[in-house]
Amino acid sequence: MRLLLVEDDALLASGVCEGLSAQGFNVDLIDTAEAALGSLKLTHYDLAVIDIGLPRMDGLELVRRLRREGVALPVLILTARDTLEDRVDALELGADDYLIKPFHLSELVARVRALIRRSRAVASSVIVHGALTLDMGTREAMLGSAPLALTGREWATLELLLLAAPRVVAKEKILESLSAWDRELNMNAVELYVSRLRAKLEPGGVRILTVRGLGYRMEAPAR
């Protein structure tokens, strides 16, 4: 997988480059937004990691121009500014996620993977999460090498959790999406479907975590 890192701080750039390369990504490094704009138009990348604080044209402006020119690759923003306004700006301008400096390399890798998985799922309609594979085109699920039988509601719940991973999905949100089948559903029903899913996924080592009082999230797949 080919990534573009747009970062002007040499120490951080080399660290991130090496860290991502060690995880099997092919990383190109560019230190100005102007140059990045050119590269992104010429070369196909799977994802761009862009620092907001670049000299001259800043990272937000770069994202704005990319989106204006129809470049659709996933963008992860690195920012030293943690005010809400900056985050909102970044996401509204078309960034897909942001990470506040300083961060753990493992966190960066997890976010990059999640973004790529999401964009792949959109492109190929296949989600892979550890031993679990969901083909949204054929609506077939595999756990390891064995096919996994899921009911419609279980499928919907799992798809929601996988597409959001590693984020938390609120119970209310699951309830909302299940209401397409049944308007009489309540929170207990959501808990029931999740516990059935857990039982089905357990043999493959795929786990759904509970966030008490809030909802559920997929446990990060072990590597």
């Binding site: 120490l11 060690a22 809400l84 300083p102």
Partner: protein, 449 residues
Amino acid sequence: MKSIRLRLLALLLVPLVLLLGVSLLLDYRFALDQANDAYDHELADAAAAIAARIRVRPPGIEVTLPEDVIRILRGSGDELFFRVIAPDGDTLAGRPELPAMEAGDTLQVGDGELDGQPVRIAALRTPTSAGMVTVVVAETMHKRQAVADRILFAVMWPNLTFMLVALVLVISAVSLGLRPLRALSREIEARSARDLGLLPVDGVPAEAMPLVSAMNRLLARLRSASESQQKFLADAAHQLRTPLAGLQTQLELAHEEVPPAQQGRIRQLLTAAHRIGHLAHQLLALARATPEAAAGHDQHQVELADLAAQAVADAHDRALARQMDIGLEAGSARIIGSTWLLREVLSNLIDNALIYAPAGARVTVRTGVEDGHAFIEVEDDGPGIPAEDRERVFERFYRCPQSGGQGSGLGLAIVREIARLHEADAHALEPRDGRPGARVQVRFPAAAR
């Protein structure tokens, strides 16, 4: 405190009262003159009547005044005195103490005193064959006084009425005139401490305009100072965080690369780098939470339950790493506040619980409304905060002696600082179920719905 209202009233009322006094005095003088004019004729007549009784009988001059003439002369309530003076100055008849008045015209009228009481005196010079004889007649002032008093009394009431009407007019005019100023002060009073928006200039009276303009200039200066402080903090955050991020990633890579024997040292360096990063963040948060810097934050309607849900989701990985169970009990609670600062409150309260509670602890984030007060609280079932430390934990850099050396001691200080900015209190309490543990609550002022 000097009141313009009192000043205006004093400046208007004192001269008004003085004017009334002067006017009354003049009225009284005028009344007296009127009374004198009327009675002076009678007095002159009396003098003429006496003069008519003067006969020259050589070698002398004689005056014959029968009792009945005198009685007629004394017809009114006043006492009448007289003196007849010969050309050589001898008193021919009557009271010698009466002054002769100045020599001059045939009739002179003036004021004088006799036996210690004021009298009106008329002197008539009348020529005789023996020379100029002077007749002096004096009369006490009672009836003149009575007339003057009646006139004065008659003019005093309208005067006093005018005075009272003027008084009411002045007081209400002053109140009315100052109304725009009171409206202005209400406008200023109603503002929040962090509202640095300019005062409206519409409807401000010309006299108050310089004050409002000066205030607006001051507000604009404060606002720009606050904004440049915000910008400085944002720049400082960037300047600090970028090299820290570089340092941290390099150390994480080094940790994987060095032989196992040296990994311990790298881990220590990493821990130190994390702590520096956390401390830098907290110092910036503390600086941003000062009233001067916070004036630049925008105020919004904030749903605390949403913020709490986000904070719990964000903290879930850290809680898992420490084998803790973090959960949410969210009740809807809306307040007006700064989203960024309120997020800091939640993340610091949660961090605090994650740092000080042991592995396996249960941490619960709650929001809601209690007795009309919106609140945020984070409870854990760890060892809790000793009662004697419950105030001190909010001091900067204070750490409970029995707690480990992990925290910076700034988290709860930030929480209290931000609480104060929102006119809220931050307190350490017992857990709700009475079991051991810590509960830190931020309680917002009762909502004005």
